[in-house]
């Protein structure tokens, strides 16, 4: 949605016709009042659709904001959740919040090198070309796969006894395949496509003379990539990562199926740090799900509060994408890439 040429915006007028009004040379507008009925209805429908969508977006944000201010207390963010019969003393959502952060870190940490390597290879080497095409299609397929299918696939993988050390294991030796590692690994598949696409588009937009200049200085291809190309697409990478993060924090199905969605973070094993990664927990999304009538239904107020927090995160990430894109556009004169949904 980022490329709007100024010409396209003035379509309502007939350009070029001489007129006394204004210096831009706009012609006389054909008034909708003189149009046929069908056209007038279509015009009204177009305005209605556009404005209606904005009203819906505004309504969602305002309603969640209203509920959030009503129910969100700082105490909720810093207290552990508790099991309780009534919703009143079920604690806060510190653990889900930590869970979201841990998942994001794991997901991005795994996705970033993979996406960068693929993007660099496809954009800069890409030989043989059929193999590059295969890599590109694979990433497109991953991008198009629903997260619920990725979650189910993760369960199939991590329930293999081969991967038992990575996940929650029962006393009898049964492998549940639920852990932060399992969920984070599958999250990285969600974050991979946006990071890849943004980096590849950025690399393809780098003018060829920058590469040639580096080659002329006697640099090898990989040094050029490392010292010239990657630094110049930093903001593309940042955009991609931001989009990836917003996909990760919004995913419910993977957490529900691969993290166990336990109320508190349950560690597994005795090595500090590793025990957390092997343990189960929940994220803000599953916390919302569990507290809504669809889950246990305990406390809609808590669900609203957590949903408000999640929406704030998403809004901030959206703003960040805009900011990065704008900074890049003003510094390079290129249109921002990757800002498309």
């Amino acid at each position: 949605m980022s490329t709007y040429s100024p010409e396209a915006q003035q379509s309502g007028s007939v350009p070029g016709a001489p007129s006394g009004r204004g210096s831009s040379g706009r012609g006389r507008r054909s008034s909708p009042m003189s149009w046929r009925w069908g056209d007038r209805v279509a015009l009204a429908a177009a305005w209605g659709a556009g404005i209606g969508l904005c009203v819906i977006a505004a309504a969602i944000v305002l309603y969640m904001g209203y509920r959030g201010i009503q129910y969100l207390r700082p105490g909720l963010i810093f207290t552990h959740p508790r099991v309780s019969e009534s919703g009143a003393d079920s604690g806060g959502f510190l653990d889900p919040l930590i869970g979201t952060i841990v998942l994001t870190v794991i997901g991005i940490a795994l996705a970033l090198p993979l996406a960068l390597a693929s993007a660099v290879w496809v954009a800069e080497y890409g030989r043989p070309s059929w193999l590059a095409r295969v890599v590109e299609s694979s990433i497109e397929i991953v991008a198009g796969t629903p997260d619920i299918v990725i979650a189910i696939f993760g369960l199939a993988i991590f329930q293999l006894s081969l991967f038992a050390p990575f996940s929650f294991t029962s006393q009898g030796g049964g492998v549940y395949g639920n852990s932060f590692i399992a969920a984070g690994a599958m999250m990285s598949l969600l974050a991979l496509p946006p990071v890849y696409a943004a980096t590849r588009d950025g690399l393809q937009a780098v003018p060829g003379h920058m590469r040639e200049a580096a080659f002329a200085l006697g640099k090898t291809r990989i040094t050029t990539i490392r010292r010239v190309l990657l630094p110049s697409v930093r903001s593309n990478i940042a955009t991609g990562v931001t989009l990836g993060i917003s996909r990760i924090i919004g995913s419910t199905a993977i957490v529900l199926i691969l993290l166990g969605a336990t109320l508190r973070i349950e560690t597994q094993g005795s090595v500090p740090g590793i025990d957390l990664l092997r343990g189960t927990g929940s994220s803000l999304t599953t916390y919302i799900y569990d507290n809504s009538p669809a889950g246990e239904g305990g406390a809609p107020q808590k669900a609203y509060a957590a949903a408000f927090l999640l929406l704030v995160f998403v809004l901030l990430l959206n703003l960040l994408v805009d900011r990065i894109g704008r900074a890049q556009a003003s510094s390079t004169g290129m249109t921002p890439i990757g800002a498309v949904v």
Binding site: M1, T3, Y4, A8, Q9, S11, G12, P15, P32, W35, A42, A46, A49, G50, I51, L53, C54, I56, A57, I60, Y63, M64, P113, S118, W121, Y125, V134, V135, S137, S138, E140, I141, V142, G144, T145, I148, V149, I152, F153, L155, A156, I157, L192, T220, I222, T223, I249, G250, S251, T252, A253, L256, S292, A294, A303, A307, L311, V314, V340, V341
Partner: protein, 327 residues
């Protein structure tokens, strides 16, 4: 060792390493297909392709699977998944038709009709709609829309007419379709807007100069030029709608009931269940062999649809590439 890594790599080694890492994604895709298909195999072995057909009572079939022992008899595997497929197709089709209409109209509005000042405010808001997590849509659906529909739109008469079969709570097809439409429309708008903006203005200006009013010019020239982009947007949105799990699980009523068009208006209030939401419902029972196999079979069907849609999307975009139009 560190020294060896730190020295600048020769190009051929770097190329091979990067290429090998890139192929990892391909390995993941193959593994995904293989693993899910292997796990789903018992279901197809016992049901064949009649798995896709209807006629059974899904709820009782699944109950039988849940209580089965670790070595279930062949009869336990009996499953007819049509109600789920029907629910998926129904919700996707309605949402797609509604969403595509709105998306085309709104995109024309954003790019061609709206004053710059308006579109500068409006476009970020629509982009926001696309990034709201599905669980928040589900929450709003289940706490706001479902009670509203249940209390205000369903009459007592309608409730009583299907009393013996299902309960109408408000959760059902109507709410599912409305929210699904809101979720997929922004995705289509993003693609259609981009294509609209890339059409050379002179084409439309030519039409206007020939005497068409601006809206007709858009319809006759611009929209025709971007038809492949519209189809590509629809394909992408379909993929999104098919795979939506959590939101639908929350607002669809969670009954393996196939809404019947013959019921009239009640049709829109009847609960349904889709393939994706059924996976959410039954993933706890994945330990029992028969139910586990059916969950994997549903996932396999979704995965297969995603593959097919990816290929369709690629084919649809080919003409766009030919004309050097981005889309």
């Amino acid at each position: 060792m560190m020294e060896w890594l730190r020295r600048p790599w020769p190009d051929h080694r770097a190329e091979r390493t990067l290429g090998a890492v890139s192929l990892f994604v391909f390995v993941v895709v193959v593994a995904m297909a293989v693993f899910v298909a292997t796990k789903a195999w018992p279901i197809f072995q016992h049901n064949g392709l009649s798995w896709l057909s209807g006629g059974g009572d899904l709820e009782s079939e699944i109950n039988r699977m849940t209580v089965a022992t670790t070595k279930p008899a062949a009869a336990v595997y009996h499953l007819r998944a049509w109600p789920l497929i029907y629910g998926t197709l129904l919700s996707t089709a309605f949402a797609l038709v509604l969403g595509l209409t709105i998306a085309v109209l709104a995109s024309v509005f954003f790019v061609e009709l709206a004053p710059v000042r308006v579109s500068r405010v409006v476009i970020p808001m629509v982009r926001l709609l696309a990034s709201v997590p599905s669980v928040i849509y589900g929450l709003i659906g289940i706490l706001v829309l479902v009670p509203f529909v249940g209390q205000n739109l369903i009459t007592t008469h309608e409730r009583e007419s299907v009393q013996n079969v299902i309960q109408l709570t408000g959760a059902g097809l109507a709410v599912t379709v409305v929210i699904l439409t809101i979720m997929i429309t922004p995705i289509m708008i993003a693609l259609i807007c981009e294509a609209l903006a890339s059409v050379p203005p002179s084409w439309r200006e030519g039409a206007v100069a020939l005497g068409l009013n601006p809206l007709r010019a858009v319809r006759a020239v611009t929209l025709k030029a971007i038809r492949p982009a519209i189809v590509a947007a629809a394909v992408l949105a379909t993929a999104r709608a098919l795979g939506e799990a959590v939101m639908i699980q929350m607002v669809s009523g969670g009954k393996s009931f196939a809404p019947k068009p013959v019921d009239g208006v009640v049709f829109f209030f009847e609960p349904l269940r889709t393939l994706a939401s059924a996976i959410i419902d039954y993933h706890d029972g994945i330990g029992s062999p028969a139910l586990g196999a059916s969950v994997y079979a549903w996932a396999l069907l979704l995965l297969f649809s995603a593959f097919a849609l990816s290929v369709t999307g690629y084919l649809v975009k080919l003409p766009l590439r030919k004309y050097q139009t981005r889309g």
